[in-house]
Homo-oligomer: 727 residues x 2
Amino acid sequence: MKLKLITLALAGVALTGSAGKFTEYVNPFIGTGAVNGGLSGNNYPGATVPFGMIQLSPDTHNAPDWFNASGYNYNDSTIYGFSHTRLSGTGACDLIDILFFPSLTDRTSSPFSHAKENARPGYYSVKLDGEDILAELTSGRRAAMHRYTYPQGADAKLLVDMDHSAQKGSWDRKIINSQIRIVNDHTIEGYRVITGWAKMRRIYFVAEFNHPILNADLYDGNSSHKGTTTINGRQLKGWLDFGKLNSPLIAKVGISGVSYENARENLASEAKGFDFDAMASAADAAWDKELGKIEVEGGTPDEREIFYTALYHTMIQPNLFSDVNGEYVGADYAVKQLPKGEEQYTTFSLWDTYRAAHPLYTILNDEVTADFVNSMLRHYDDYGYLPIWHLWGQDNYCMIGNHAIPVVVDAVLKGVEGIDPQRALAAVVGSSENPHPGSPFDIYEELGYMPEDKQSQSVSITMEDSFDDWCVAQLAEKLGDKETAEKFYKRAGYYANLYNPETSFFQGRNSDGSWLEPFDPVKHGANGGYPYTEGNAWHYFWYVPQNVGALVEYCGGKKGMEKKLDTFFTLEQTSGHKNDNISGEIGQYAHGNEPSHHVAYLYNDCDAPAKAQDMIHRIKNEMYTTDHSGYAGNDDCGEMSSWYVFSAMGFYPVNPASGEYYIGTPTFDRCIIHLPDGKDFTIVANKEKKADAHRVKDVRLDNRKINDWKLSHSDLMKGGKLEFNLK
Amino acid sequence: MKLKLITLALAGVALTGSAGKFTEYVNPFIGTGAVNGGLSGNNYPGATVPFGMIQLSPDTHNAPDWFNASGYNYNDSTIYGFSHTRLSGTGACDLIDILFFPSLTDRTSSPFSHAKENARPGYYSVKLDGEDILAELTSGRRAAMHRYTYPQGADAKLLVDMDHSAQKGSWDRKIINSQIRIVNDHTIEGYRVITGWAKMRRIYFVAEFNHPILNADLYDGNSSHKGTTTINGRQLKGWLDFGKLNSPLIAKVGISGVSYENARENLASEAKGFDFDAMASAADAAWDKELGKIEVEGGTPDEREIFYTALYHTMIQPNLFSDVNGEYVGADYAVKQLPKGEEQYTTFSLWDTYRAAHPLYTILNDEVTADFVNSMLRHYDDYGYLPIWHLWGQDNYCMIGNHAIPVVVDAVLKGVEGIDPQRALAAVVGSSENPHPGSPFDIYEELGYMPEDKQSQSVSITMEDSFDDWCVAQLAEKLGDKETAEKFYKRAGYYANLYNPETSFFQGRNSDGSWLEPFDPVKHGANGGYPYTEGNAWHYFWYVPQNVGALVEYCGGKKGMEKKLDTFFTLEQTSGHKNDNISGEIGQYAHGNEPSHHVAYLYNDCDAPAKAQDMIHRIKNEMYTTDHSGYAGNDDCGEMSSWYVFSAMGFYPVNPASGEYYIGTPTFDRCIIHLPDGKDFTIVANKEKKADAHRVKDVRLDNRKINDWKLSHSDLMKGGKLEFNLK
């Protein structure tokens, strides 16, 4: 990134503010595009702040979809403008709202090159080569700024496009109605109502300019409503003319999911003047504060760049959803008022992020963790069960399980303040008892498993639901509700009902109890029509985090399990269709998708920690890069990044609601976690003098040797020192 | 209606409360279904209160559409249940929300017969013959009650259907998301988000029962989520079991367009207990109060039934749209808070209702008129121009012109209290200057007319816009804004630019000034693709209400105009496709559609008032009936009814913003209008002793003879006596 900065400076591209101590390590281009046709993280390079509402970034597709879900692909060479919202690292695309594009003519796109592009946390710039316009973006939490430097003496124009969105064909996406209005010669407003992956969204914006609008032409499709100050329709665009400018055009934009009024209030509270540099500096400072919660020393420059970029990617979602006045749109589409001091969040890609991202937040962001959990509990109140994939305040049911449950339970059991434990228990129990799409609990309780003839993806759902059940039981037990604990501990064992001793795999059964035949352990399922979800029987064999001992038994002991793990990490795909999400392969292991993520650590349970360390070391080195691919697969709202952050620190939450981490192997010589209460937890790696030292000779917590390869969350949060000797 | 009541009493069908002095004249079955394949009013027979939010009525179609837009057709013999919202008299269908159907089994419809059906204002009952269940409905403003009497000893069930709606295929209608939740054993709630004729609606309900729910099964399409207390999806139904009941099941329901919370508050404020009879009595009293504002004596029983049913039909819309706490959904889909004491209304079918319905409200309902107008002004604030057809708070752009303008201007000029004149002027000017769909004012002002090559329906739009322009000018002049008055008086004359002296018709022109050829004065247009809207050159010749003198001139004087009117009322259709909305024909005159409505009165302008009186008398007798057809065409939200109410009183607002009525011929011996301020205006008809006396020998206002066949609104509102001598 430093090199990039120098290159850009030479290229004459403006830079603003100074990169912070930690933000300077971040390379927002990581994960933004495949290298040589492989996969990338599906990240975006634009401007955002930690957990912010706005993601202001270039769109290199006019209608992004599955393979460019963030709106940007590093391999593209055209920019269509800068829109204010998007997802990071997802497979599916949505949001992509309110596009601005600066022009001198009626041009609506421009070629660009990476040589004249620059990004750091909270700031992005690019030279639009088509007409030599410098575009700079920065953002606050609910407001953002654009700064466009037009060529001297040229007539400055700005396209405001309310029709730009993710691909209209996907997810029944359609603009229901929209508006652009010219409020006065410095202000425009607009909104749209749009269907899509989030079933129905309203988004309002207000934009204020530092130069007067001399003329505005508004269009609905091809029909111009000349001279109108307000246009309503489904294909709205506006062209604003500012004439010849003696200084850059600055647009400050506030958004809201609730109303114009709230968008105005959001803007007013975050951007009083037109000081672009001040907003960029504030964004940098906000990021530096968050990133600086983990301070590393040693490692290679690439490792530091990967680490801090990963840490950055873990915090560009979940996203703030409530306005500065505490209003937000509930899961029932009604406007709600938050209790004072609380904030509502969305973008919970829970099937991914319950594994490592949310546990990471419990270490670094306890306040925001309470907001995340309370946001989920409010969703429960409105919707009848906790969210599965929470997008713009709504459930899109993407993936399986009910993995808000481990997030809620983990936070309560870790003692995160500001969450009502009884309310949490009611929500996790209700979400586990009320049948809902993908979760026919009536059938599950009757049979002791999900039968494939009644609920597809039945093995994966049974395995994952069993874990969720264990989480419910844990919380019930902790709160003294024995009956509930007993019921859910029983359900937590349902995975066993799908274990077939003859094959030593978990296999699909129908409701009559029969096994699904034929059985091929390497054949993948996708998202329906087969008992395994985005994986195969090999992947799902390892998913009993609540009782790894059972796996040891199934394998006939630790040696047997070690052997099965060895096979897992070496077995080639010999038959069956492979799922699209499988990438980053090591044998059957696929780091590009979440079901594999904890598996390397399971060597610890076979008394083979060195194999765990070797594999973790290999994955860190092979599956994470500083190039624009960045990741071996979708970053999935920071989950892939969270794996790295944990694994680089030297431990990982194999069971993400146990309050316990499996010890792996640290990347950096020294890593200090600055805990929320002011204490530090320091991880030290004393390495033998060889480049590749990663095998753990011994590991000590505050000078007491750790023998079980475990670190408890409570020990971590006390502060102290974890010292590795590596060979 | 009295006869009907007797029949029903004999049939053993329950009746509740006692009909009021005026409500007893109303027959809600008028206009509910064609007779012998003709047209009907498209009205509904169910329960509603004056200008209420709820229209609780039987649906005899499972997915009503164009030809049964109110959900009910008298010719049908099956009832699918009772839903809470609908339109009266429209061509297009929408709303039709939240269907309840009582059953003993899994039956979802029932045969019924009119012999066991009963309706009066605010009350409807029917025996569902399929399982011998008596269903009774009544309503308040924002809450309603159902009373279901199941056979003794039978297991009572109730279907709650959130998937029932107007035809899904029409207007891109689709349920975006919906919910049913069992709150406790006496309460359920639900909402849906649905697209359609109103682009996107949210509707929430809460229902409380007087008996406990013993079991609830919720379904999404065919998939049951057994045992769940909350279901979300797009095809939701719930079956509630109440077991054997010792008294009727009563459901009280509150609705809201904003939230569950507001639906609960609406319900609590209007229905404290489960006293169905009390709510029915209150509805009856509310109607009696409204209907009693006009008291008639004489006339035949049929004439009184037609008159009071027509008056009833004028007041079942516009519909209340704000909740009891003052919240409502704005045209920008955001939730708004009303100023204290104000209410928001919707269902403004303005192309129809600006002609006579709104003028009628200015006489009878000044308070609600202020709310109507302020509702439109708030729409202007949110949308940029006044509504064209205002449905569920949104503009569906149905029909042409901007006829909120005459409504707003008329109310201000008549001195209706509670409207800010300057705000009104800004709105009518803004709506006339901001180009918008159907109103490309940039082109209109450039050419002095709408050219057909750029804006279809150009003759009709030019004629109607010219009138709207005259209204703007009137208000501007009144408020001392001379410049605006001058501009709009000029535009008010644009109709003349389409007058072709060679044919003596208003004809379409292209933007190059050329006339559209070939020209056929009887050929109809529909809603695009031809210069005339739902009519032909004959219909639109008469549309210069702001300057009838010009028509006299075009006709070469009064005799020429009389002759042209004679031709109009006799000329047969000889060529060209006839528009579907043409019905109730007398020559070219078509009482079934609005453009004809004022034409009979124009004989007054030719010194041929006797011909006006003959024709008005004929139309009243031929086009209005007591059978279920009722009207010669769609009632169009009470416009067809308003024509009758005015014409039966003996005058009509040919120019609906002039404050002046044309005198026709009264129906009743005596008609007393009880004015809002307590004064009475009495119309007396002294008839010669013959059955058909309707020609006016003379007419006197407070004993002063009227020579110009005009009555001013201000004279009317002073109270006094209008006395006709009829021969």
